[in-house]
């Protein structure tokens, strides 16, 4: 039985991608769930109440090995079982001990992408952003180190490549391991492209983080499969500079939109005023018409001929 473990950085979107692309063990969800629970338990034992972003690689006690072995053996025989978990990347050596055919797929992301994913769901907090960057460095470094030590057992893939070049990614995995995930959905593009503003913001946040840039370059250099934008090795400063023009373009587009919006708002308020004027006029004419009706009714009531006709009709 072959087991492929997918892991990545905390905001890589690993779980979503793995689920939507059918990489997780759809046929053994309970075992995968239990493995994730075990992974979580090991981390909790190690770090107790420490924030997840502060976790660093560690060696868990051997007492958990047997349990992990039992869980892996409970997975369906003869199939390639897959399991995706973020935290298991902190102690990959532990999982290697649990079976002979354990293989790793390390999904890396660009630091900008990691930050963009984080900012999508969280308020802007510079201290927390520093923690996210540190966590990205720690976990990416752990994955890279493990890959460099056990290159036969691992592949490093940009998670975005799975979005755009999935068949090639699967082919690469199969070529390296001799097996690959059994069921892969044909769903494409579950991870939407990040807006230029977000890209520029995240790259600006990373300016001056040389160690981040160096690590990202090392990941890309070592990757078994890069995505298109990885192939251009630019420093964070260069990437940021490259985004200045699109950013300004976007800003100007937004400026135009704002101006257009202001114009439309002004027109709308003008129309609103006209409408109000029209309502006033209508009200005036309605009142006038009511008055005329009343006067006409009075006139009719006072006409002697009509009174005679009315009485005659009553007599009849």
């Amino acid at each position: 039985m072959a087991i492929i473990i997918f892991t990545g950085t905390p905001f890589s979107g690993l779980q979503t991608v793995a689920k939507q692309h059918g990489l997780v063990a759809a046929n053994q969800p309970a075992a995968a769930e239990e493995l994730s629970e075990l992974s979580r338990e090991i981390c909790r034992d190690q770090y107790e109440d420490t924030c997840e972003l502060a976790w660093t690689p560690f060696s868990p006690p051997q007492t958990h090995v047997e349990k992990a072995k039992a869980l892996f053996s409970s997975m369906q025989e003869g199939k390639t079982s897959c399991w995706a978990d973020i935290d298991c990347g902190l102690f990959p050596d532990f999982w290697l001990q649990t079976g002979e055919n354990i293989r790793f797929v390390f999904f890396y992301t660009s630091p900008e992408y990691e930050l963009a994913n984080y900012l999508e769901d969280h308020e802007f907090d510079s201290a927390q952003i520093d923690r996210v960057i540190t966590s990205w460095v720690t976990r990416s470094q752990a994955m890279l180190s493990h890959y460099l030590k056990h290159r036969d057992h691992c592949v490093i893939v940009n998670i975005q490549a799975l979005e755009f070049e999935k068949p090639e990614v699967i082919r690469t995995i199969r070529k390296k391991f001799g097996f690959a995930p059994d069921t892969v959905s044909t769903l494409e593009n579950t991870l939407p492209e990040k807006p230029v503003l977000v890209k520029y913001l995240t790259s600006s946040l990373l300016l001056g983080h040389e160690e981040v840039s160096e690590l990202y370059d090392a990941l890309r250099s070592a990757a078994s499969f890069m995505c298109q934008e990885d192939s251009n090795f630019l420093s964070i400063f260069e990437r940021n500079q490259a985004l200045v023009a699109p950013f300004l373009k976007e800003v100007s587009r937004l400026g135009k939109l704002t101006a257009a919006h202001a114009e439309v708002s002004e027109e709308l308020s003008l129309k609103q005023r006209q409408l109000e004027q029209l309502i006033d006029e209508l009200g005036y004419y309605y009142e006038k018409s009511k008055e005329q009706h009343r006067l006409f009714a009075d006139y009719l009531a006072a006409d002697p001929l009509l009174n005679i006709a009315h009485r005659a009709r009553q007599v009849q």
Binding site: L148, E211, E214, S221, S224, F233
Partner: protein
């Protein structure tokens, strides 16, 4: 990632000047600055990177950037600029591609290279100064360090080299194996090799061995040491004598000490006995005090009782006197009553006699009345006066 920060900290490096070969963007700058060094010289062969680094440090007076490569000899060399600038080198990558398969040489540019000796001269580094050399030379270290003389290397007290296996890059002299730590040991350095977290690189820490001197100095030092040894031997004999004397003294002192100790033990036991006796006496004293207190209490109670008894006696005496007085009074009353009774008896007897006499007179008179009834009603008799008297 290299372990420079950890090693600099561990080796307690405090350099006057730092020279970083292949510095890139010098992400170690903060570490260097914390060492409070006078100057940081950064060598970066890639013109683009050197320019960016110069831009980064244009406001740092303590940083000097030299856009040159380091090589065994001064001259021009071809720099292979890789897509990952950290791996750009004067050599082509070989086994490095097993680890980093996506590395590609994007272009080759002609750069000016400088030898380590020339660099030391140009920068006026002190010959045996406390300088730090950091080298990230991407394979060229296997040429640079063997080519540098010991004198040149001795310009640096600490040398940190990030180096991989020799075959990571295509070396010009294929088959010539260079033992880099050996080269540095020969140049008078203590060499320590540390593996990085993951292959293919390792960090070599070299610390200049300042105790290494030239031969003449060593011979002079040897002669001095021999003289010292002779002196030490003479001193040793004297010390042996002194030691014997001291041993005698010690044995004597030991005997004295034993005596004192036994005396002391005896005194201690006596003191112990005395202490026990004192304890017993104290207990007895306490007992007696308790008894005295009990007695005093009893005495006080008795005094109280006596006082009460006296009071009772006085009261009884007074009561007795009162009773006696009452008795006398009662006796007097009794006697008085008795005399009264006697008087009464006499009077009663007289009355009785008078009555009997009257009865007799009545009987006599009854007979007279029958004869003279009117006189009896109008004239009082002498007997009537007597009856009033007896009634009184």
């Amino acid at each position: 990632m290299n372990r420079f920060a950890e090693l600099i900290d561990a080796a307690a490096v405090r350099p006057n000047r730092i020279v970083h070969l292949g510095a890139g963007a010098c992400k170690e700058y903060e570490i260097y600055r914390s060492l409070q060094t006078q100057q940081i010289i950064l060598l970066e062969p890639d013109p683009g990177t050197a320019q960016a680094t110069a831009r980064k440090f244009d406001k740092s007076d303590d940083v000097k950037i030299i856009a040159q490569a380091i090589a065994p000899a001064t001259g021009s060399r071809k720099l292979k600029i890789s897509n990952n600038a950290r791996f750009s080198s004067l050599l082509k990558p070989a086994r490095l591609l097993d680890f980093y398969p996506n590395l590609e040489i994007e272009e080759e540019v002609e750069v000016q290279a400088i030898s380590l000796g020339q660099l030391c001269k140009d920068e006026s580094l002190a010959a045996d100064g406390d300088n730090l050399l950091v080298a990230e030379l991407q394979g060229i270290e296997y040429e640079v360090f063997p080519a540098a003389t010991a004198d040149v290397l001795q310009h640096f007290k600490w040398i940190l080299i990030r180096s991989g296996e020799q075959n990571l890059y295509q070396q010009p002299g294929e088959g010539t194996r260079v033992n880099l730590p050996g080269v540095l040991r020969k140049a008078g350095f203590t060499v320590l090799v540390f593996d990085e977290e993951a292959p293919p690189f390792r960090d070599i820490l070299c610390i200049r061995d300042d105790s290494v001197l030239d031969k003449a100095e060593i011979e002079a030092e040897m002669a001095r040491l021999e003289r010292c040894i002779e002196q030490l031997e003479a001193g040793e004999a004297r010390l042996i004598e002194e030691k014997k004397a001291v041993e005698n003294d010690v044995s004597k002192w030991k005997a004295e000490r034993d005596q004192i100790e036994s005396k002391y033990n005896k005194q201690v036991s006596e003191l112990e006995n005395a202490r026990q006796a004192a304890q017993a006496l104290t207990a007895e004293k306490k007992d007696l005090e308790a008894r005295i207190q009990a007695r005093a209490k009893e005495y006080a109670e008795m005094q109280q009782t006596v006082r009460i008894n006296n009071k009772l006696l006085l009261k009884s005496d007074a009561d007795l006197k009162d009773l006696q007085r009452q008795y006398r009074t009662a006796l007097e009353h009794q006697e008085e009553q008795y005399s009264l009774l006697c008087d009464l008896k006499d009077k009663l007897r007289q009355a009785s006699e008078f009555y009997q006499k009257l009865n007799l007179q009545n009987l006599i008179l009854d007979g007279d009345v029958l004869e003279q009834p009117e006189s009896a009603d109008t004239e009082p008799t002498a007997g009537g006066d007597a009856e009033d008297v007896s009634a009184e």
